[in-house]
Every structure is written in C-alpha cells, then in structure tokens.
C-alpha cells in the first residue's frame, strides 16, 4: 500500500488535520451567535378597542397558532379559528394553524430565535417546561384576557366563567397568569359498570369492599386492577387523591411544597400499604409492570381487569375497544374510604385543567392569540369540544343540552358529588422529572411490581424529593 510519490500521504493527512485545528478557534466566533436571537420588537400594531373587540386585536394582522395533535386532535381549534375569521374577516388568508405532536422540537428553535407563534397548546410528551418558560420570561401574562368580557355575556369577565382552580393553576406564585388550561380532566379509578354488574357489584365505597370485590373477581379469573407499568406515573391519578382523603388535602400541599418528611406522613404509608396489598394478594393483572398505557387500557377494556387509574381522556383513547362491549358503561370512581377516620369524605377526587395554552412573550400578535382563546372559551366552542372529544372544558358548565357519553357524564356526576373536595396536586406540572421518572418509574412502579416494600418506596421517594429541593437548577414553587 506504500506510496512512492514525493507527496507522502501520511504527511498530507497530518497537515490537513493541523490546518483543521487552526480553523477551530475561528469557528468559536461563529458559534457565539448560534444561541442569540434578535431582540428587535416586531410586534404588530394594536387595533381599535371596541365592545366587539375588547382586546384591541389588529383586524388585519396575521395569526400563528400551534396545536398539540394528541388525544384531542386539532379539529376543535380549527373550528374556533373559523369563528375568529368570522369576527375578523380582514385577517383571512393570514391565519395559520399548524398541529404537531412534537411541540418542543418544533418550537424550541423559534423560542430561541425570538419568533415564537402567537398561541401554543403546550402539551404532550414533548411539552416545554413551564417552570423554565416562566423563569426565563418567555410568556405573556394572560390577565388581560381574564379581565376581558366573555363572548357569551359582556357583563361577565372571562375569569368568572372558568371552573374553580383553573386560573390558580396557571399562576406560578405571583399575580400573573401564564397558562390557561383549556380542557378539564377528572382523574380517578375508571371502571365498567357493566362488568361490575356481572359480578353483582357496585363501585366499592370502602377499601374492605374493594378487597372483597377483588377476591370475588379473582375467583372468576378476572384481575381487580391493572395499570400501565411502563408509565407508572398513572398510579398517582387515583393514589394521590386517596392520600388526601386519608390524611387531608394538607398532606398533598406539603408534598407539593417539597417540605421535609412530607412523604413520611402516616396517610402516605396507609395509602401505599393498601395498594401494595392489591399486589400481594394477586389482585393486579399479571404482567402489568410491562404494559404501556394502551396495552393496559386494552386489557382493562376487554374485561381482564376491573379498575384502572386514569384520566378522563381514556374515554376517547379507548373508544374503539369500549365500543365492542355495548354493556360496558364507562364510569369513574373516587378513591374508596380506607377507614372511618379518613379526613375527607367519600367523593374526594382529583380534577384539574389539561391542555395548557400559552401566549409567548415575543408573539407578534399576542392580542390575536388571546382573542382566539377567548373565542374557544365561548359556550359554542366549548360545546363543540365536548362533543368532539368527550372531555370537559375549563368553561364552567357549558354542558347544558348536550347528551354526554357515559364516561363524561359520570365524571360530571363525580365533580358534583365532590363539591369543594377537589384536590389538585401540582407535582406533575411543577416537577415533571421528579413526578414521572423518579417517583413514578423509580419507586411506585417498583413497589407495584413487588420489588420494593411501601416503607422502602417511601424512603426512596423522600430522598428524591429532598434531592429535587436541594437542586439549584430546578425552580421551586409554593402553594
């Protein structure tokens, strides 16, 4: 292979490499501009404020909206968009609505470059971290929208048409509201009334009844519970309200605030013990630790297990399998009472906003983005959403005159029954990594697979929570 020419190939390669190294420092200069975006103000001018246009939207300005195309699809947003065009016909042709499942990879470069869209549905697996967005001042305060008159009743502010807790969820310790949650999700124990009827049973209101029912089901070869072991952070959907029910909402507040020894509360232990007993007695569908959310929902919808911790999107997501059993009659149950000394009454449930909408700080047409949200919060658009995806919206009511599908109807009943006893743990939107990966996968999943005892799981979780509290790179919140 040797070369005999005057040009020694090895020398040539060496020198070329040397030249490359010389070139490197020069590139450092180039790289300095990669992260920086222009800060120039390129906002559109405001329009004229009027009764029909309380947010002073520029009628001719374009609008750029990005929707998360997940369980709810994007049709409801497109419908709202045509309402927007009806109100501002001059904007026709300049309104852009795109939908994606990859929110962060699509939008991160635009945020970095300083030209984000005017309205974003920041949801799904690639949700951008809210704490970071708020901390880095990337969002517009939505108070203007909340104080504007609502579409249906000009004498009522948008703020007053929302369900309780929705505005607070969008705040991060200050007065500003950064996020508006559009959907309203009820979490809990989801089950089939039809399948329970086959066992001559009703939804168990006490834990003893729960265990008895599971034992009965086991004899017939049906598991009591299943859950998505691949994403064990579904377990909290019924476990956290259970903890609140046993020990009071205060326990969850301490947990959210990352207070020392918050997880060592006896209520946590009692709830963990109860769930662990399900595993020990063999009431959990075999193999659940290896199932993802769709697989576990499928097994549950096919009647292999009675109960599954989930949120109200399950009705839409499992619609096909549920439809195969006309007697299914989907319903959601609140956590059963563990004992008479539970601090909160039966019916205590976890409900909170879903589908978080944001208007970026650097949006060109922030007023337009907010106006579209205002339109979406009208009764007409909200009902359209409910009909299309069978989920409630943040708009209080809006269900009158609608025939609700069984799961949604039962969620509505559960909300009424809960009254003031609605809990809303914030761990999952404040500390995503802690909630999903550390507590969920690292501890709860391990416990329900029988590889950790409740005591070990609590110890592990407490350490995770302490680590997060001491981690200066994670922004902390209090409620």
């Amino acid at each position: 292979m040797g070369s005999t020419s005057a040009f020694n190939r090895r020398d040539l390669v060496k020198r070329a490499a040397a030249l490359g190294i010389v070139a490197v420092p020069a590139m450092g200069v180039l790289s300095a501009c990669a992260g920086g975006g222009s800060d120039s103000d390129n906002k559109v001018e405001k329009g004229k404020k009027s009764a029909k246009n309380p947010l002073a939207v520029n009628e001719t300005a374009g609008l750029d909206v990005v929707i998360f195309d997940g369980g709810f699809g994007d049709k409801y947003a497109k419908d709202a968009q045509s309402e927007y065009l009806k109100a501002f016909p001059k904007a026709d042709g300049k309104v852009k609505l795109s939908s994606t499942q990859k929110i962060q990879s699509t939008l991160q470069p635009r945020f970095n470059g300083g030209n984000p869209p005017d309205l974003v549905d920041n949801s799904g697996a690639e949700q951008m971290d809210f704490g970071t967005l708020v901390a880095k001042d990337q969002l517009t305060d939505l108070s203007t929208l909340l104080d504007a008159p609502s579409v249906d009743d000009p004498n009522k502010k948008v703020r007053d048409t929302l369900r309780p807790g929705v505005v607070e969820m969008g705040q991060f310790g200050g007065k500003e509201t950064w996020i508006l949650y559009y959907a309203y999700t009820v979490y809990g124990v989801w089950y089939s009334k039809g399948n329970l009827k086959k066992l001559d049973a009703e939804y168990p209101e006490t834990w003893d009844e729960m265990l008895a029912l599971c034992a009965k089901a086991k004899k017939k070869g049906v598991a009591g519970w299943t859950y998505p072991g691949k994403y064990p952070y579904y377990l909290p959907f019924s476990l956290y309200p259970f903890i609140a029910k046993i020990g009071g909402a205060e326990v969850l507040r301490k947990i959210d605030n990352l207070e020392p020894n918050a997880w060592k509360d006896p209520a946590v232990k009692a709830a963990f013990d109860a769930y662990y007993e399900l595993y020990k007695k063999g009431y959990v569908l075999k193999g659940s630790p290896g199932l993802d959310h769709l697989q576990s929902q499928k097994a549950w919808a096919e009647g292999k297990a009675l109960f599954i911790p989930n949120g109200s999107w399950v009705e839409n997501e499992s619609a096909k399998q549920i439809a195969q059993n006309p007697q299914f009659d989907l319903a959601v149950g609140a956590p059963s009472s563990l004992s008479d000394s539970d601090k909160m009454p039966y019916g205590t449930i976890w409900a909170s906003g879903g589908e978080p909408y944001i208007v970026p700080r650097k949006a060109r047409n922030a007023e337009g983005g907010m106006e579209l949200l205002r339109i979406m919060l009208s009764k007409k658009s909200a009902q359209n959403f409910i009909r299309q995806v069978s989920s409630l919206t943040s708009l209080n009511g809006g269900t009158e005159g609608l025939k609700l599908p069984p799961g949604l109807a039962s969620a509505q009943v559960a909300l009424e029954k809960a009254g003031q006893n609605i809990v809303n743990p914030r761990l999952q939107d404040w500390y995503v990594a802690l909630q999903k990966e550390r507590i969920g996968v690292g501890a709860l999943g391990e416990m329900m697979a029988g590889r950790l005892t409740p005591d070990e799981a609590i110890k592990k979780i407490q350490k995770y929570a302490d680590d997060t509290r001491d981690d200066s790179s994670v922004k902390k919140y209090k409620r």
Binding site: A23, G131, T132, L133, G229, G287, G290, G445, E446, R451
Partner: protein
C-alpha cells in the same frame, strides 16, 4: 517539484476544509461552549457558569447508571453481534459439507439464509423496536405465550418491566437488528479470500475450527475491526437511544436499569429544559466515544496480511 507544494495542496483543500470546519468542528466547539453555560434551550438568555455542570455530573446518580449501561452496551454489543455475524457468515460461505467440484461452500440453503439474515436491515429501527416490544408484552406477547405453550406457564417474566433483565431484552433486539448487516459484510470479505488457501489447509487435514481461526479470521481482521468501531458507536449513539426510548419502561427504566447516555441528554434537553447540562453530558459521551475508538485502534493493530 517540491517548491510550492503546500500552496498547491492548500488550494485544493480550502473548500473541503471550510465545509468540514463549519459542519463538523464547529458543532463540537459550540457544544463545549454551551456545556459551560446555564442555557435552558427555551430562551436565548444564558450565562456562563464555568464547570458547574461538570461538577454536577459527578453527583448525579442517574448519569452514572447511564454511563454504566452505555459502557455495558459498548463492551457487549459489538462482541455478541460480530461473533454471531462471523459465525453465520462462516457457515454460509465456508462451513458447509464438502461437495463435488467446489472446494469450499456454505451450508445447504445458504442463499435463503442470507436473505433471512439481511431482512431486519430493511426494517427501520422504530419498527424493529416495536416488534420486540410486542413480543415482550407480558400480557399477550409472543414470548410468554410460547412459554405457556410448552408448558412452562410458571415462567412468565415481565421482560422489559424487570430491572434485572430489561437491558438484556433491549440488547437482544439491537443484536437482531444489526447482525444481518455483518453477515453480508463478512460474507463479502470471505469471498475475496483466495480458495487455494482453504484448499491447501484442507489437504493438510485442517478442520472447520482451524480454517476459521487460522485463515478466515486473520484475513478478515481489517473488516472485523471496522465493524467493531462501527458497532461500538452504534451502541453509544442514536441506535441505543431509539431502542431504549421506544422499548423501555419509563423510558430509561425500570429504576434506570436501561438509561443510556444519549437518552439522558435528550431527557435533560427536551423534558427538563436544561440544555446546558445536557450538552455537558453530551461532551462526556464524546469523551467515552473517543476513548473507545482509541482503545480499539490500539488493541486491534496487527500486521496487515496482504494477499
């Protein structure tokens, strides 16, 4: 003639070097630069924090389990894949029963096997990962159904749900997806080895074992070494990321038993909004990769056999 040589060469190299600098070297430099900042990835606003990110790495348990798993993949994946590839290629080309006329040949039906082995190569990584995920499904997957069918219904592992075996399950899928490529690569290498070598060895009474270790492997060494580096890099980067991301619990679980470096980079950037810290992890991944290639080059250095 020697006069002006460098100017002459440089003239040709300006363009390629510039392209190389912009698209290959500058991202590296940028990555190192960003790893020294507190960049969130969500706003252009950032400040230098020196080596804080690196100091944090040493305290980060998840990072170390990711390093451990990545290194396990790095050490085992090439060995297993290449050994299987070599074995299959040898059987297909040399290892068969001796037939009339032909001095050497593959086992019966080797043509069909070649197609079979190469088949996974035409499937995309996510599809392979999904296929295996279905097979591992403990509720209705093929593997547990198989155990059921042969009467071993007591043995029903959770596969991907069990931290003891999850990484092995992922690795098995990666081997399956890649071995076909090496069968083809090594087959090509073997077919260029002169037949007389085998003929001479067979006349001397060499068996299959001897022909493999004395003739095939030494003459194929260059190819094996290339494959080794290629496979090692595959074990460290996107392929590992895709398989773990799609298949594993969490992903990266259960209990971080399948967390690998590229996945951790992804999670820190796209879930936690800590792009600066993520690039620091990326730089450490770069170091692992460089050390690996250096070690392989050094260990693999042998006298080149010409034929």
């Amino acid at each position: 003639m020697k006069h002006g040589k460098y100017r002459f060469i440089a003239g040709f190299l300006v363009l390629p070097l510039a392209i190389y600098a912009i698209f290959v070297i500058s991202p590296f430099v940028q990555a190192i630069y960003y790893s020294l900042t507190d960049w969130t990835g969500l706003s252009p606003d950032m400040k230098m924090v020196g080596f804080d990110n690196y100091a944090r790495l040493f305290q980060d348990e998840v990072f170390w389990s990711a390093v451990g798993n990545s290194v396990t993949l790095l050490l085992l994946l090439p060995v297993v894949t290449l050994s299987l590839g070599l074995f299959f290629a040898f059987m297909l080309n040399v290892g068969g029963r001796r037939r009339k006329k032909a001095v050497i040949g593959g086992v019966r039906g080797s043509g069909a096997y070649k197609i079979l082995y190469f088949f996974p190569q035409v499937l995309s990584v996510p599809i392979v990962a999904l296929l295996f995920q279905f097979a591992y499904n403990p509720e209705s997957g093929a593997l547990n159904a198989f155990f059921d069918a042969i009467g071993l219904d007591g043995v029903q592992p959770d596969w991907l749900g069990d931290p003891q075996i999850a990484l092995w399950c992922v690795m098995a899928a990666m081997v399956w997806a890649n071995v076909g490529f090496y069968v083809v690569l090594f087959s090509a290498g073997m077919s260029s080895i002169p037949k007389d070598f085998y003929e001479a060895a067979l006349l001397d009474g060499a068996n299959r074992f001897n022909t493999f270790f004395r003739i095939t492997l030494p003459l194929l060494w260059d190819t094996v070494q290339t494959g080794w580096i290629y496979m090692g890099i595959l074990a460290l980067d996107v392929s590992a990321f895709a398989f773990v991301q799609i298949m594993s619990v969490g992903p990266g679980g259960p209990d971080y038993s399948t967390e690998v470096l590229p996945l951790y980079v992804y999670q820190k950037t796209f879930r936690d909004g800590q792009a600066g810290y993520a690039t620091a992890i990326g730089v450490s991944l770069l170091i692992v990769t460089l050390v690996f290639s250096a070690v392989v080059m050094r260990l693999g250095r042998r006298e080149r056999l010409e034929f």
